[in-house]
Amino acid sequence: MSVNHSNDLVENEAFDLSHTTNIIRAIVEDILNRNKFNEDNVNSWTRQIVDRCQQSLLEIHNSFKTIITAMIIPKSEENIHMSNACLWDYEVDGSTIIKWENNSMYCIVSAFALSSAS
């Protein structure tokens, strides 16, 4: 095993996928929990989810530009179709998508972290 002494190691920090995913999942669970979908609260929930996720992501990756989107959809018989495409530096940038559900609703959170260095 060799030791790399390089300034690049500090500047080109890569996206930490599993840590980010776990944090976001915990945030969604905390905010939505066993709540039933209702129109009065849903906008506040989506707002809280993106704000808290954004804060947490900044603590982990403060040299990255970050985009968070959150969607809450009440459960019905219909399908939801979602697709993403990214033009980025695949060596350092990354994304995670969390699908969460309880009895009454789905929540989908996408988080994208893009290095400002590349």
Binding site: T46, C53, T66, I67, A70, H81, M82, A85, W88, S110
Partner: protein
Amino acid sequence: MTSEEYSVFSVDEVSNIIKEVIERLIGNHAYQHDQVTRWTADIVDQILTELTNLGKRFKYIVQAVIVPKNGTGLHAASSCYWNDITDGSCTLRWENKYVHAVVSVFGLSI
């Protein structure tokens, strides 16, 4: 800094691209369960291609959601941590008789 040295995200330019691609791919087509997955993927791919052709020094995220119209809603929020001067986003809500589509483009300058 002159405009040749950095690019600024143009909401109008991107909005037109999104509109054109959706119209071209979905238009007034009826909802077909087996087509929608393909539509969603094609929309983001084609928008990304056209954005790349603009030749600006940007990283892009394109996101598309399509839900059939049946009364249930879709609630969304987003948050961006970026460079206020150069970076930007454009979200288009589009519908025909059969589906709602929400397409977002985020552009981050390099």
